[in-house]
Symmetry: C2
């Protein structure tokens, strides 16, 4: 059993190519004994974004704060705090902060070696 | 790709024995094509709680609102909004709302047939 405040968890810059002004906290992972999926929190500054990319696993997202646009292969979709987002495996996606405040969202991914 | 506000998602009473004044929304599940893990949101009224029980799968939790106590085999642990909680498989657990407002948390579980 682990209980931890997010503010106690290290935040690191997202250095992946195509990311801008985005940081990540690894909230729950295999280091905690979580072997099936991992919980991360992303904080994106106004004007910032994640990479426009795709991969062979899904995203389950809960938007905690702010407002943004999900850029997909089919265009742009607005989202805001209190929205849930599911991105299918191999769908192109990018999360852009189009608001004036920080945008924060949880983004969970499967741990491939355990779920494959 | 799915984007949906939580307020558009049906909320149902948790009828499991041992639950009191707790409701659940299924935010992302296999119905959306999410085959590895499911995202649920629980809302517990002041004085309410989830069952004191255990099962063979883990919980990954993010506390959205309110304050509570996690009752485990080893005693009681306070938590509040902005905390993350990991409950291991087979750990006894119960979430109690000890505050004066609604307590809301996300609770994610693996989809057993895919991750076993």
């Amino acid at each position: 059993m682990k209980i931890q405040n997010i503010n106690e968890i290290e935040e690191t810059e997202v250095t992946m190519e195509g990311a801008k002004d985005a940081k990540m906290r690894l909230l729950i992972s295999d280091k905690d004994g979580a072997n099936n999926f991992a919980m991360r929190m992303f904080t994106v500054e106004p004007g910032g974004h994640t990479p426009f990319h795709f991969h062979n696993y899904e995203h389950e997202i809960y938007v905690l704060e702010g407002e943004g646009v999900l850029h997909g292969a089919d265009g742009e979709h607005a989202f805001k705090s209190g929205d849930v987002i599911f991105v299918q495996p191999n769908e192109k996606h990018q999360f852009r902060n189009v608001g004036e405040k920080e945008m924060k969202f949880l983004c969970l991914i499967p741990t491939p070696e355990k779920c494959a």
